[in-house]
Amino acid sequence: MVGIVVVSHSQKIAEGTVELAKQMAADVKISAAGGLEDGSIGTDVSRILAGIEAVQTGDGVVILVDLGSAVMSSEMAIEMLSDGSNVKIVDAPIVEGTIFGAVQASIGASLEEVINVLAGTKSYKKF
C-alpha cells in the first residue's frame, strides 16, 4: 500500500489531518510529521525521515506539505534515504489532499494513481 506522510509546521494540523484521513480509510499507512520535537512550530527533517520510514512498504510514499520550509525539509529527508526514488512530494492542499490520497491508497491504488488523484485535488470543488 502507498504510504502517506503529512508534513506540517503544526503538530496539531498533522495529527488532526491523519485522524480525518483514518476516519475515511482506517487501514491506510499514514504518519504525521508535524512541528518540532518539542511541539513548537516548524519542520524537522528527522521527523519527516522517520515518518517516511514508518509508512514505506516498498509501494512508495507521497508527502503532503503545508507551506514554506516544509518542501525543502521534505526534499532533504528524501535525499537522506538510501533509495528515495519512490518517495514523492506532491503539490496538493495538505488537509484535502491527504484525505483524498488516503482513500485512494487504501483501495490499493499505485503510487502513480495516488499522485494523479492528488494532482486533481486542486480543481475539486467544495461546493
Partner: protein, 212 residues
Amino acid sequence: MATKAEVLDFIRIYADKMAEHRQELTDLDQAIGDGDHGINMSRGFKAVMEKLPAVENKSIDEILKTVGMTLVSTVGGAAGPLYGTAFMKAGMSTKGKEELSNEDVILAFDEAVGGIQFRGKAVRGEKTILDSMIPAIDAIKASIKEGKTMAVALVEAEKAAWNGVEYTKTIIATKGRASYLGERSIGHQDPGATSTAYAFQAANEVAQKAGK
C-alpha cells in the same frame, strides 16, 4: 588560510551572534514573515554548540557536516535546510582537511552558496540569504585575486554583505514567506540576508584576531 581552531572559533562566534541578535532577527521576520528567524537560528546554533565538543577533534569536513546536519533538524524554518545544506556542502568540499588554504576557503564558500541555491532554487535579487552571501563571496574572491590577505578579504566581505542587506530593503520578495506579501515586502530588510551578514562578521572577527 584557516586553521581548524579558527573554523571552530568561527562557529562559536556565529552561534554567540545568533543568540545575541535573536530578537533583532525575529523582529525583522515579524514584519515580512512568521516572526521566528531569530528563534530558529539561535535554537539551531544552541544545538550546534551542544554537538560541537563531540566532533571538535575530527577533521574540518566532519565538523562542518555536523553543523549542517544539526541545523537541518533543529532550526525549524527555511533557514534550517538552507544553512544546513550550506554547511554540509562546505564540509564535503573540505574532505579530510585539518587546515584550509585560501583556495579551500573560497571553494567551501562556493559550495555553500551552491548548496543554498540548489536547496532554495532562488537567484540573487529575490530578497534572500543570497543577496548578502553572493556579494560577500565575490568580495573575497576579488580581494584574494588582488593578492590581499584573507583578513583583508573578510573585511571587504562583511562590508559587501551589509550592503547586500541594505539592498534587500529596496526589492520585492519572490521566494520564501515574505513573497506572500508581494509588493508590501518592499522597504523591509530581509532577515535571512541579515543572519548571513552576521556570519561574515563572525568570520571577519576570527580573521582579525588571527591577523592574517
